[in-house]
Symmetry: C2
Subunit: 240 residues, 2 copies
Amino acid sequence: MSRTDYPVYLQLRDRLWDWIETEELSSQQRLPSERELSERFHTTRVTIRQALSQLEAEGLIFRSNRRGWYITPERLRYDPSRDVGFNRYVTEQGFHPRTETLFKQLTEVPPWLSEISGLEVGTPIYHVFRRRYVDERGLLVEHNYINPAHCPGLLSESTDMSIWQMLREKYDLRPEHRDIEIYPLALKGLEAESLNVNQGAAGLYIQRLSFDQRGDFLELDREYWLHDALKIAVRIGDRH
Amino acid sequence: MSRTDYPVYLQLRDRLWDWIETEELSSQQRLPSERELSERFHTTRVTIRQALSQLEAEGLIFRSNRRGWYITPERLRYDPSRDVGFNRYVTEQGFHPRTETLFKQLTEVPPWLSEISGLEVGTPIYHVFRRRYVDERGLLVEHNYINPAHCPGLLSESTDMSIWQMLREKYDLRPEHRDIEIYPLALKGLEAESLNVNQGAAGLYIQRLSFDQRGDFLELDREYWLHDALKIAVRIGDRH
DNA sequence: AAGTGGTCTAGACCACGTG
DNA sequence: ACGTGGTCTAGACCACTTT
């Protein structure tokens, strides 16, 4: 059984990988331009882009819309089952978090939300859309849908901090159980634009649907992460 | 703020999407050849491939090495925290599972495994490598590392069924807690070849590290899934 | 044997980000 | 204003799958 021949773009991938290692390029550092790379490695831009895309898929480098290629930082560890705010677990890992609220509004429950939350269509609902950074790289955008019946006046508060912390401290709300969904998807439309990535860039979707002790809908969280930004780590079955 | 102009390949994506809908192409059905599509939509193969790749990233279609483009089946729902075998939850969802053992061997604990399991380097360990199908599409490959101290003779058993079921029924072994890791990655090398996808195809990695009541290492499970094949769904915090 | 997808070339134009 | 990445053309050859 003979091996298929090893295509040029994969050879380039290997050489780029080695080159990045020997140059000791560090997190968020920029690579030379594609034209410069294609000259240096004696190939065309199309082929060097294929090699770069390969390394992008592997998570070694990433691109920021029309600005160039950069070294990907280490993945953030994330446990969606814990009740710890973004700012806290980012800080715990030695990085610098930042949150930007892109919009917040009082709106009405649409049919799809009614279906999973049990709220009636048309019921008032808070909707917050935020972007989260780690070390000034935008890693995810997040839609929060919160039941105003449980926390009137929430939108007047600053939403740049942890919503969970606020719910716990100001309104004494805690989730009793959660339904979590996770799957890979392509970042599109608003999410892709907000994260400065191409339409169709690989991402990870995380949804958390939280209910209180009485089984009432508390909050829905829909997160769109860059594919290379996180590593989910959960411990299951341990009773503390 | 004027919109950036909408590139041809995204227009093609939309037209392909519509075309697939109106043709009512069903799961696993093959699309026309790239040359035929590029004629039909009056463009070049490079551009039609960009549009196809977009739909691939979105999970609507997939490719099987050099054979063509096909309609992606519905995602399989999967709860890695439950103790239910692959065959069972696939069947529960109305699909047909199949498992193929690609190899199984008795080997020695390598350093990386020692680090996470607590076993000493060089200790005997079972290693099973399997491929799992749903409706005859290979969705994942899986490495199992099992502590033979707890289940001598396991390799003589058929490994085409649920290993967990076997551990429970034949050896009365149950995990007390588990460390689960999940993140997107690129499928490469052995994993890509075994799943008949390109080097660098998008995938999802799921690792489960299981310990028994005494805190002893039981089993390590490393799964490499196609990115479009599954939706993880977990309920947390509910006490039955 | 024919046709397919995978790879690759050598150009080109454009919109956008950065100086 | 310049250079960048993003897009696109019109070809070509090859390895592999299917007929």
